[in-house]
Structure formats: C-alpha cells, structure tokens
Amino acid sequence: MSGDKMEVELAEQKLKTMEHSEQHYFKSYDHHGIHEEMLKDEVRTRSYMNAIVQNKHIFKDKVVLDVGCGTGILSMFAAKSGAKHVIGVDMSTIIFKAREIVKVNGLSDKITLIQGKMEEIELPFPQVDIIISEWMGYFLLYESMLDTVLYARDKYLVKDGLIFPDKATIFFAGIEDGDYKEEKIGFWDNVYGFDYSPLKATALSEPLVDTVDLKAVVTDPVPVLTLDLYTCTTADLAFNTPFTLTAKRDDFIHALVSWFDIDFTACHKPIRFSTGPHTKYTHWKQTVFYIEDVLTVQNGEEVQCKLDVKPNDKNRRDLDIEVDYSFQVNDATRNASGHSAYKMC
C-alpha cells in the first residue's frame, strides 16, 4: 500500500507537469462519476463482457493487453476467461483503484496494472496475443484513445493477434429537430428580451451530444467511415468523404445526426453494438450538427454532403469538423446549400 501511495504521488506530480489540456483529459477520468456512468452503460459493458466471456476458447492461455483499463473491468473479464496474463494500462490515477479492485477479487496474480502513457512504459511481455480496449469517444473520435491502441498494436501485437473490438463505423443521417433547434439555437435571439446573437454563432459551432428520437430521423443512415483496427493508421483519423442522404418521407431537415457501430468480428459469433437512435441508450448518445438552413425535403430527394474531419492542429484531442451540404431540386424555392464548421473541444 505504501508503495502504491508513493506511486500515486509520483503520478500526480507527473500529471501536473503536462499541458493543461492533456491534464484535463487524464484527470477528468479520475472522478467516480464517469466510471459509474460507463459501467452502468449496459450496452457498452455487456457487449464487452459477452465478447470476452463467451469466447473463452480464444482467451485461454493468451497474453492480453487492456489499453485504457480504467477500473479494470475488461481486464477482469479477460482473466476470468482464462487468459494466461492480462496487462492493464491507464494514464489516469484511477488505475490505483483498479489495483485494489483486482486484489479484492483475487486476480492480482493474473493481472498487472501499469500507470503511464503507452508510449513511455515498458510491458512485462515483449508481445501480446490479444488487445482489448474501450477507446471510443463521443462521435467515435473525440477524445478517443484510438491512436494509443494503434501504437500498442504496432509495437506489441503478435502477427495474427486479435483486437477486441476490431471494427468501427460512423454513420450520418438527417433529422427533423425544429423544436430543439429553437430551444438551443433560437434561444440566443431573445434572452429575457435581449439579443444574444453573439452566443448563437458559438452555439451553432458546437456539436451537441444528446439523444435523438428515432422518429426524428428523416433520411436513410449512411456510413461515412469504417475503421478496420487491424490495418488502419492514425492518418485515417483525418478524413474527408462525400455522402448522399436520401429522404424517406416528406419532412424538414434541421440538423445532421451522427453515431457509430462497434464490431467484435473475432468472436465465435460476431458481436456488434450500435450507439444510434434506433437502439438502446448508451452514454455516447448521438452527436447533432445543426445546419444554418432548414431543408424542405420530399420522399426520395437527395442531399449531397461532404464531410471533413481532422484533429485540431493545436490540441490533437479536439476535432475540427466541416460539413458542406447542397440540396438541389427542380423547385428553386427549396434549393439550399451551405457550409458549416464545427469544433469539438
């Protein structure tokens, strides 16, 4: 315990020397609240549990690396599934709690927990057979740990090693969201009788993380990015792509909504979960991007869009997102096109 205490102090000291933005990222995970929220996200935790404990034949006698282990839940699933050894790595001081938890559950000899940055620490095994990680952030990529997972893959994963999960797909759709757009954006037009429009531009440039009702979805969903975790690189995290949204009824489009699906294809029976509006709530909710125009669309009509996503130059954990949209039909009064720039920070 006293050794741990010294380590905690050292870790805290080290955190203090980091850039403020980085510090915030790591420290914000120390709070219980976020771990409670993540663990209580049943879709998330249960999917990982099923992917691991239903595949004991895959995990048996394997060396497993858990990237960003948090409270250690995934490491413990892996140990329970017969892994030879599990290494959990996390930068946050939550790992000292994880160590206590692992001990209380009698798994200390199966699980080694290391506090530090993946890029800076040394693992007790030169290679690992399986990488497990819950690295996803809002909009999949915001504050995500994917770059760390890819680093660990390239440095430690044996040839033909497995990654859980190994596939991620981002989707977009158009939504009718007049009331809420009014509440979030229109609010600034009249605040207790005052014009607050300077805050409106800011409000529009901030994607909104919230739950969207399935009934609000006006178009078919379109995948805009699929990441194969065995082959993708950090360069793939900046991407641009055109996509077309097709209206499936007569309605208005006030915003675009985005979500992601996660696949564990290495499982005996593939496991997938979605964070979309069509399925159960997750703590990732969905991400809403309000556009300037209101598009009046008829069933079957198409909106041409272009998406550009890249990490912010100054802070790689922030995302710069741009959307171009163009809606051209025979009825000129309904034509509209525009460009929106968003920042997740």
């Binding site: 609240g33 709690k97 938890i101």
Partner: protein, 537 residues
C-alpha cells in the same frame, strides 16, 4: 457551475480588452520607458528617443509636428500611424502629409500604454515645439493649457469609444446572420439531457451561460427584482460583479440606471460587450475585464451592487469576498446590495434508493467487488438534486448572511443546528445543505429571521423577491449539497420523537481557498456525538 470559474478553460482565445487599455493610459509620467518609433529599443526620456530616431532613422518627429502644425490629436495619430507602419513593416515617408494619417483609426494606440503618447503634452509644450507655435498658444496661461489638455483627452476618449463601437458593428455585420429573426419567447424548463459534468467541463463555451440563463428560478428572481423596482434603479450608478454574459447589467440599464459598470475576469466579457452593443445599451453599460480587486473603475462610488455570486452550498467558489471588497470600496453608505441576504439550511436525510443505486452498487459490478470505488464517497460533498422525501428531519436554518454587514472573515464559521425527526430512520444516510436568497428593496429593511421562508418574505413587502434552492422548490443549477455519512454497524435505531443536534462548520480549504470544507457533529439524546468532514473542490 458558475460562469466566473470558467475563465479560459474553454476554447476562447485571449485578446486585449479595450477597457483595460483605456484605463491604463491614465498612468502618470513618473518613471517612463519609451519605445522607439522605429525599433524595439527603449529610452528613459522622449528627448533621447526622438534624438535616436533622427540619428538612426533619419526621421525628425519634432520637425514633422511643426511642419504639419499638429495639435495633440494630430500628434497622437502621427505616433500611431508611424507605429502601425513599422509594425506592418511598411516604410514611413520622410515628408508625411496630413492625409497619410487622417483616418480616425489612428486614435487607437498600437502600443499598449504608449509612453510616447503620454508624453505628447510635454513634447508639444516643450521649447522645441513651442518656439514656432502660434502666438496665441504662447500666450496661453498654464491653466488654459491644462483645460485644453483635459478637453482633448475627453475628446480622445469619446473618439475611442466610438471607434470600439464601430469595430463591434463591423464584426456584427460580418457575423453570420440567420434566416428567421422572428420573435421568440425564451425557452423555459430544464435543459434536455444531461451531459457528463466531469468529462466536459471544458466542452462547451456557451453551456455554462446557457445553463445559468435557463435556470429560471435564478434569472427570474433578478429580473423580477430589477424590473419591479425601477424606481430604485432609475438614475443610479450600478456595479455588476461577475457579469458573465451581461444579463443583469442589461436588466439594470433597461430599468433606468444612469450607468452600469459590468466587471468580469473571464473572456465571456467579450461576448457581454457584444450583447450590450447589439441591444443598444453601450452608452449606459461599461464593461471592464479583470478582478474587481485589481481593476480601476471609471467611478469612485456606486449606488447599487448587483451580483450573482452564489456557488454550490452558497459559499463554494468564494466569490462573495469580492462582492464584500467592492461593497467596502465602492458602495455608498446608503447603497443597496442585490441580493441583500442569504440563509443556509440543513436537514438530516435517509434515502435507501439513492444509497443502493450509487453506493452499494460498487459491491457487485458484473460479479466483481469494486468497493475500492467507494473511497471518497464519504469525504466529498456531492452536488445532487434530491427529492423532498429524502429528508428525515425538519430543516434547520443555521446561518444568515447579511450582505450589508458581514465581514469576509465571518464566511468561515461554526454554527449550531438541530432537527426534530419526521420519521423513524433506521440509520442516517447523511445531510442535505441548501440556501435561500433574499432581495430587499431598501437597506433599512431588517434582515429576515432565520426561519423566514422566501414565500413569507415576498408577501411581507411589495417589491421583495426571494427564492430557495432547497428540495421543496423547483430545481436550480445549484441543486443541493449532499453529505453522506458512513453506515453504522449495527445501524442505530433512532426513536421518535427525537431531536438530533450538533455543530456545523464552513471553512475554506487550506490548499485551495476557492474550495470549501464542511464539518458536522451530531448527537442525539440517546447516543454520544459523532463527527464528520467533507470537501467541496
């Protein structure tokens, strides 16, 4: 979650505030450092600097002033013209003409606190320049020159204000405009969804202000007090401390205040300045960026101080000392504080559902024991909105803060509390803390008794406003402070009717003055005392 703590934690970029610059220009000419017009070299007197410009850059500042017969105005523009050319790496012609720097934009200083501009009076007044100036000026008495200087400075200020308004106007025009500008009523009700408080403290720049503005209990109280008491505000000088997006300042301006000074240490003040301009209130409201203890206000005293300074458990974030500083420094003896007082309450609680959902939960997480996560649960104040039926004893008002008289050192205190049990709890889960705020219409009105509720206070006098953040009222963004105590083993059976009592201490944390430490002791007739301590940081 209050705006003033947000300073800079979000994506806002820093830039110099106009107000700050202006205030600083008034510095006296004691020991000065003058930056050369043409490079970064500095001099301790203007003579040396101008000599150097002549020698090394072949530019005769005095001669230019004389040739163009520049007055103070003209000289200010000349300085800023040259400095802007040099900054932009543009050449400065030897034979400048008046048209080169006729643009009023050159009233805006290129250098902050430009000592050369401060010295211009002296330069224009010196023999070098005076030798050739007109007879009338030569004959002017010292007094006339001083008067002239003051008039010119006043004119300069007005030009600068106009310029900054103009700049804002341009910005506004360039801003993206919306299709529909139809009239809308402000949205009511709770914010949909609940973004993680932890992860995204820095997520949204607007979020905190949106949350506060949409906290209708809070914002309506200020609005109602200010708009229903226009006679109090009419013609008065008002100071708004921690103005945020500027809403309270604008209420005061609309209510007829002669002048409002809005002070905030956060970058949000830039948005406040724009909001105020867009609402045509720039001539009444002056925005000043900085800590109230450090900024120089354009007035020596004010009639009214308006501030939304309240934090979690009322005193978290310690903004009240700043209000008290301003009270002692700026408020007239008969001046009004808005709000005028606050009462802090506590009550014992028992909530089996909450405890099992958030505390016992950790004993079985997907089959694993995570009791390690419970650590700290009994050490930190949790900010939660709890239902009224959580209370298992009568609430007790343990502290009244009279803002007119309270001293900063009295914000750390120990008070007695007691509570008659309302039902028979099998063990106490902890305590709940909340506060009421009172807005009295005059300084002579007595501070409400501890037990006075907002409803009673509002009915007592026309114009009075009050609200509660307690579990009996509408949920506010302050919610309540939840202090959990570790379970007893075996649980103590409290008997009815029984009164439990003890002491409660509020103190600043040693390591972080903005944080709060709360200690509670508790004993009942049948049991000996217990003592706990929590932190809110």
């Amino acid at each position: 979650m209050s705006a003033r703590s947000e300073s800079g934690s979000s994506s806002a970029t820093s830039s110099v505030s106009d107000e700050g610059e202006w205030l600083d220009v008034e510095n006296d000419e004691e020991s000065i450092t003058i930056v050369s017009l043409f490079d970064s070299q500095t001099f301790s007197s203007w003579n040396e600097m101008l000599d150097s410009c002549k020698k090394h850059h072949d530019f005769d500042f005095i001669a230019t002033i004389k040739n163009l017969q520049l007055d103070f105005h003209g000289a200010v523009k000349l300085v800023n013209y040259i400095r802007s050319r040099v900054r932009d790496q543009q050449p400065v012609a030897k034979n400048l003409t008046l048209t080169d720097f006729e643009d009023d934009g050159y009233f805006k200083p290129v250098l902050e606190n430009d000592a050369l501009i401060v010295s211009l009076d002296e330069i224009l007044d010196s023999d070098l320049v005076k030798a050739d100036t007109t007879a009338s000026q030569l004959n002017s008495s010292q007094g006339e020159l001083l008067a002239q200087k003051q008039a010119l400075e006043a004119e300069l200020e007005s030009v600068r204000t106009q310029f900054s308004n103009y700049r804002l106007a341009v910005q506004e025009t360039l801003d993206r405009r919306w299709g529909d500008d139809t009239e809308q009523s402000p949205a009511k009700g709770a914010v949909r969804g609940d973004r993680g408080n932890y992860y995204f403290e820095s997520y949204a720049y607007n979020e905190i202000h949106e949350t506060m503005l949409k906290d209708t209990v809070r914002t309506d109280a200020y609005r109602d007090f200010i708009y229903n008491n226009k006679h109090i505000f009419k013609g008065k000088v008002v100071l708004d401390i921690g103005c945020g997006s500027g809403i309270l300042s604008m209420f005061c301006a609309k209510a007829g205040a002669a002048r409002v000074i809005a002070v905030d240490n956060s970058d949000i003040i830039k948005k406040a300045t724009e909001n105020i301009f867009n609402n045509g209130l720039s001539d009444i409201i002056t925005c000043v960026k900085g800590a109230i203890e450090e900024v120089k206000l354009p007035v020596d005293e004010v009639d009214i101080i308006v501030s939304e300074w309240m934090g979690y458990c009322l005193l978290y974030e310690a903004m009240l000392p700043s209000v008290l500083y301003a009270r002692d420094r700026y408020l007239k003896p008969d001046g009004l504080l808005v709000p005028s007082s606050g009462t802090i309450w506590m009550a014992p609680i028992q909530d089996t559902e909450y405890m099992s959902e958030h505390i016992s939960y950790w004993r079985d997480v997907y089959g694993f024991d995570m009791k390690a996560m419970q650590e700290g649960i009994y050490d930190d104040v949790r900010v939660e909105a709890m239902p009224q039926n959580t209370l298992c004893g009568e609430p007790y008002p343990f502290k009244v803060l009279d803002l007119q008289t309270i001293k900063p050192e009295e914000l750390s205190f120990t008070a007695r509390w007691e509570s008659k049990l309302l039902r028979r709890p099998d063990g106490l889960d902890g305590f709940l803390i909340w506060f009421d705020n009172f807005f009295a219409t005059s300084r002579s009105e007595p501070v409400p008794e501890p037990t006075t509720t907002p409803e009673v206070f509002v009915k007592a006098k026309n114009g009075n406003v009050a609200f509660t953040t307690g579990p009996s009222g509408i949920v506010t963004h302050w919610k309540q402070g939840l202090l959990l105590v570790p379970p007893e083993n075996p649980p103590s059976k409290l008997e009815l009717p029984e009164t439990i009592s003890g002491q409660i201490t509020f103190a600043a944390l040693e390591e972080n003055a903005r944080a709060l430490r709360i200690d509670v002791t508790c004993s009942s007739e049948s049991k000996e005392g217990k003592k706990w301590s929590w932190k809110l940081e």
